[in-house]
């Protein structure tokens, strides 16, 4: 369970500081699929970045399973990203000089898993996203949809509790986007992880349990879908 308590984010600027988030309080249930929607610039990415520890809130508090992250340092966040938080981005963010399998194996290598398990795991996860036949391909040789699948496999490899996805379909055509959405939804159901996804896509709503709509740095509406 993730709780945000009056979280604000202000980007400092000498003359025009930007308030990207304003007193955001919300709860995300474990195992749920939550959508983050709203017009461009409303603060979705900012929120996801705070949850991934890529940026720090200006005030307020974020709790993971009742654990406060208020006094987390860089090392604590790193530990969290190694075992509990996976991230997916609009621009896939694969490392171009690593093969698909290596990209997926990388987070496991970084956290120092036993060597013999890593490759097995990487292959298994890639097969699960339907890329068993593209193991040795470099990202440059993959299509956008395939790259996003590799990115999902990479996030999935560490068996995270929380998956943060920032417009994962934003750079794909709608057909491929549908496929990716389906894949994400089925992964969520299958492994019981919590998925928080920022998107402009209306198609995503059918897969979601909860839709949070933001406007001007604030939450406008929280909509439960049964």
């Amino acid at each position: 369970m993730i709780i945000l308590d009056k979280v604000s984010k202000i980007y400092p600027h000498s003359t025009h500081p930007v308030q990207a988030l304003k007193d955001i309080s919300l709860t995300i249930k474990a195992g749920s699929f939550t959508l983050l929607m709203g017009p461009s610039g409303c603060g979705k990415s900012t929120l996801l970045n705070l949850l991934g520890g890529l940026d720090m809130p200006s005030s307020g508090e974020i709790l993971f399973d009742e654990k406060s992250t208020k006094y987390f340092n860089d090392r604590d966040w790193t530990a969290l990203r190694r075992s509990e938080i996976g991230m997916i981005f609009q621009f896939f963010n694969l490392l171009p000089m690593l093969t698909a399998q290596e990209n997926v194996a990388l987070p496991l290598l970084l956290r120092g898993d036993p060597a013999d398990q890593i490759q097995k795991k990487a292959v298994a996860v890639l097969e699960m996203v339907g890329l068993g036949h593209r193991l040795d391909h470099l990202p440059g040789a993959l299509s956008g949809g395939e790259m996003q699948r590799v990115a999902i496999a990479r996030a999935d490899a560490i068996s995270p509790k929380l998956l943060l996805a920032d417009e994962p379909t934003g750079n794909l055509d709608s057909k491929t986007g549908q496929d990716i959405l389906g894949l994400l939804a089925s992964r969520t159901k299958a492994s019981g992880l919590t998925l928080l996804m920022a998107t402009h896509s209306q198609q995503a709503i059918e897969h979601a349990d909860q839709v949070i709509t933001m406007k001007d740095s604030e939450i406008e509406e929280i909509q439960e879908i049964s």
Binding site: S45, L94, M97, A105, P107, L109, A115, Q119
Partner: protein, 858 residues
């Protein structure tokens, strides 16, 4: 105008904002500073040298010197009958050490014995008597008539606290020789040799320096109406072949030639840093082009044309070059102060006495430094600018992420490398010209080029090998390797520059080590005497002080002594060039010591030389005059030319221009010269050199200015001089390494800018700061290893060029190639240490990358 707007809005902001611009600037400034400082130092030394020469030469148009050494004063009579000669100024000169204060090694004082009445036509000086009253010539003449009287320069006198009427003494043959300060000298001549000049009457000089009836030189002023050449040939005809008649300028030509070669070598060495600096600008701009591809695409899309893009980058390069050049000149002039000191010391000990050189920075050199900066930077920015201009707007806008990999044509590079290597070999086989091994340097440049060209391919192979070898469990190694391979285009020039600097450094070390090993070997084999005795001033290059003549007999009579060898060296004109002639007791040398002959056993060759009255020559001399064993050469003696057969050619690393060696008996027979410069003392079995040395010291006393050293310290002394000679070389090399280090740091910094995103990704999937640091450091490590592997191989060939082509041509010495195995370890430590050092700051910066920004945008 539009170009100006581009510059103002784009270039200036990039240049000022980006930290690596500063790194590049420092590198370029350092590179130029080295070059400039050597130029300044060379120039200052040359100026000092010319100044002293000019003041000496004065207004004379022709000079006469004896081929065998001294001149017979009787030829003055013949000269007086020559109508075309307006004035004749005979000169007797000698250099002796001051003996006050007695304890320390006194300064060297040049005595010029002159005919004062003739002198005023030649040299510019004034004489000041007591109470600072100027004396006219006859007044000066009066005061000099006394054989004890000498004129000292004001500077020198005040340095020693001497006033008119005071006495001072110099040392000759172990005894003080006293003079009285008759008056003081001012004017041009007083500036030469830093004022260490004394003028005395020529007759007193002949008498007091035991040169009765002899002259060292005759200066002439000739009739302006008649051509100097025809007068020279007339005088030559009337005086016969024993004298050399020449223009005074010719006297210094030989020294100038050697100085020129020496300075060219230094300049070439200093050009290394310049070369590395050039690489640095090239690299910076190339990276800048890659980094700003999008911006270029955008500008093109907005209507900026190719030529403007080209101009943009060229001008950016020029700005770096100009600013770098400016600081280079400033740093260079600071550096030069030190270089001038070391250089004038080295030149004094190797070639010719020059006064402690005042440092000056003429405007021309300042401008030259700037010009070099601009030229170098323009030149090195041409290719990157061209590349930028070639970018198509659409391609450029698509960005570079991951698209750099495949476009290197390895086959073409390897062919070019091979061609360059081949050319290098061809050049190495060509003859040198202008007294300097131009072909050796061209060959070295080509060799470096050949090895630079294989760098990209090596990176690829290395990267493939690492990929196979590195276990799957180590992400840093794999990531660093992946990046290394991906960015070959950027890493290539950096590694090349680093490799080049290392190769030059290592090859020079190999050369010096070979040189050193050869010299040590030579000393060990040829310096066998237990004790050496010589005037303390002997170690100063131009002293004429000799040992007391009775010393040889007295030492020989000592119980502990088995044998003594009296060694005398003097200058003669061999084939119109000044060379060293040595007379020594060859029989004793054969029995107790040896020469390292090119062919034949030392004992046999020397004994044959004694029996058949042959001459032995050093290798340098043989190379210089293209003569060899068995040839007969004419050696000028006071009794005319005497034919000598060359009995052997021996290796010798002690004299710059080479030497001729004959038996002492012949030196006495032909030259009537029984002086001794050095005495080599061989002790009986079981004698202790140290106690015998103490005994000798007691016997002759410290006031005699004599030095006795045992074998060990003497060898050390020689090696100390040797090391001093290479001091600048080492310093230059280190600076080149520093410049290369900046290059690596620069590349890594850029690498981080470009990899912000990658680092962000790494961090977002659980990479820690330490892991990011490690990836960057591993990449730096790879760069160091690759640079060093190629650098070592390149250095091996480069050192062959240095030893067998450049050194051989410049100095005529054959060195034994000696590859110190430890250098492999040392160079690896150096290369990797350097690379890691250069990588550390960028790595730290990388770890602190702003994550959200890094992954946010394409």
């Amino acid at each position: 105008m539009r170009q100006f707007i581009l510059l103002k809005f784009i270039s200036l902001r990039h240049l000022v904002r980006e930290k690596r611009t500063w790194l590049t600037l420092i590198g370029v400034a350092l590179g130029i500073s080295v070059f400039v400082s050597i130029r300044i130092a060379n120039q200052s030394v040359l100026n000092a040298y010319h100044q002293s020469v000019d003041a000496f030469t004065g207004k004379s148009t022709v000079e006469i010197v004896g081929r065998s050494g001294a001149l017979d004063e009787n030829i003055l009579k013949t000269l007086r009958n020559e109508a075309a000669i307006t004035t004749i100024a005979p000169i007797v000169q000698t250099v002796l050490p001051m003996s006050t204060p007695t304890t320390s090694q006194g300064e060297m004082l040049l005595f010029m014995g002159v005919d004062l009445f003739q002198e005023r036509d030649f040299r510019n000086f004034n004489v000041v008597g007591e109470d600072d009253k100027p004396l006219d010539m006859s007044g000066a003449f009066e005061v000099l008539l006394n054989p004890d009287s000498a004129l000292l320069t004001e500077q020198f006198a005040s340095r020693y606290g001497l006033k008119v009427g005071d006495n001072f003494s110099v040392r000759m043959e172990g005894k003080p020789l006293e003079f009285k300060v008759a008056a003081l000298l001012t004017g041009d001549i007083a500036q030469t040799r830093d004022g260490n000049i004394a003028i005395i009457d020529i007759a007193s000089a002949q008498w007091r320096f035991q040169k009765l009836g002899q002259l060292d030189r005759i200066d002439l002023i000739t009739d302006e109406e008649i051509s100097v050449e025809s007068i020279i040939s007339r005088i030559e005809k009337s005086l016969g072949g024993d004298v050399l008649v020449r223009r005074p300028q010719q006297r210094n030509r030989q020294i100038e030639k050697m100085l020129f070669a020496f300075q060219m070598n230094l300049t070439a060495l200093s050009a290394i840093s310049l070369f590395v600096g050039l690489f640095l600008i090239y690299n910076t701009l190339l990276v800048s082009v890659a980094h700003r591809r999008k911006e270029i695409g955008l500008l093109r899309a907005l209507g900026v044309d190719r030529a403007q893009i080209f101009g943009l980058f060229t001008i950016e390069g020029m700005v770096i070059g100009t600013v770098g050049g400016f600081f280079g000149v400033v740093i260079g002039s600071v550096l030069a102060r030190w270089v001038v000191q070391v250089l004038s010391k080295t030149v004094t000990s190797l070639y010719v006495a020059i006064p402690p050189t005042p440092f000056s920075l003429p405007l021309s050199l300042f401008m030259e430094g700037l010009a070099i900066g601009v030229l170098v930077s323009t030149f090195s920015s041409l290719y990157p600018a061209w590349q930028a201009a070639q970018l198509r707007p659409r391609e450029a806008l698509e960005g570079i992420f991951g698209s750099e990999v495949s476009r290197i044509n390895h086959q073409k590079l390897l062919c070019l490398s091979l061609g360059s290597g081949l050319l290098s070999f061809i050049f190495s086989q060509m003859p040198m010209a202008w007294g300097f091994s131009w072909n050796g340097y061209v060959a070295s440049g080509l060799l470096l080029m050949a090895f630079s060209l294989i760098v990209p391919t090596t990176i690829l192979l290395f990267s493939k090998a690492v990929r196979l070898l590195s276990s799957q469990s180590s992400p840093s190694w794999r990531l660093a390797q992946g990046h290394l391979e991906q960015a070959i285009r950027r890493n290539g020039p950096t590694i090349s520059a680093f490799m080049g600097a290392l190769a030059m450094m290592i090859s020079v070390v190999i050369m010096i080590e070979s040189f050193r090993t050869t010299v040590v070997l030579w000393i060990d084999q040829t310096i066998q005497s237990d004790i050496l005795g010589f005037p303390a001033s002997y170690m100063v290059s131009d002293s004429d002080e000799t040992l007391p003549r009775d010393m040889l007999d007295q030492i020989e009579k000592m119980d502990e002594v088995k044998a003594v060898d009296g060694y005398r060296s003097r200058m003669i004109l061999f084939r119109d060039e000044s060379v060293e002639l040595v007379g020594r007791d060859l029989a004793i040398h054969a029995e107790h010591s040896k020469y390292l002959f090119r062919t034949g056993k030392s004992v046999e060759v020397i004994h044959k030389a004694i029996a058949q009255r042959e001459v032995l020559i050093s290798e340098v001399l043989a190379n210089r005059f293209q003569i060899k064993e068995g040839d007969t050469v004419q050696v000028p003696t006071p009794q005319g030319n005497v034919p000598f057969e060359i009995g052997g050619v021996f290796y010798d690393y002690g004299t710059e221009g080479g030497k001729l060696v004959i038996d002492r008996a012949q030196l006495i027979q032909y030259w009537d010269d029984s002086h001794i410069d050095v005495i080599a003392i061989y002790l009986g079995e079981n004698e202790d050199p140290t106690s015998v040395r103490s005994k000798l010291l007691v016997k002759w006393g410290s006031s005699s200015g004599l030095a006795f050293t045992t074998q060990g310290p003497f060898k050390d002394e020689i090696m100390a001089i040797f090391d001093q000679t290479f001091l600048i070389t080492y310093a230059l090399e280190w600076i080149a390494i520093v410049v290369a280090l900046l290059g690596i740091a620069n590349t890594l910094f850029v690498s981080i800018l470009e990899r912000k995103r990658e680092i962000g990704i790494l961090r977002s999937i659980g990479g820690s700061q330490a892991q990011v640091v490690r990836v960057i450091l591993v990449e730096a490590f790879y760069m160091g290893v690759i640079g060093n592997i190629i650098g070592l191989i390149c250095a091996f060939f480069l050192s062959l060029l240095l030893i067998y082509v450049i050194n051989k041509a410049s100095f005529g010495w054959t060195l034994q190639f000696h590859f110190p195995p430890m250098i492999i370890l040392h160079s690896f430590l150096l290369a990797i240490g350097t690379a890691l050092l250069a990588g550390y700051l960028p790595a730290r910066k990388a770890a602190q990358t702003d994550l959200k920004e890094a992954i946010a945008y394409e």
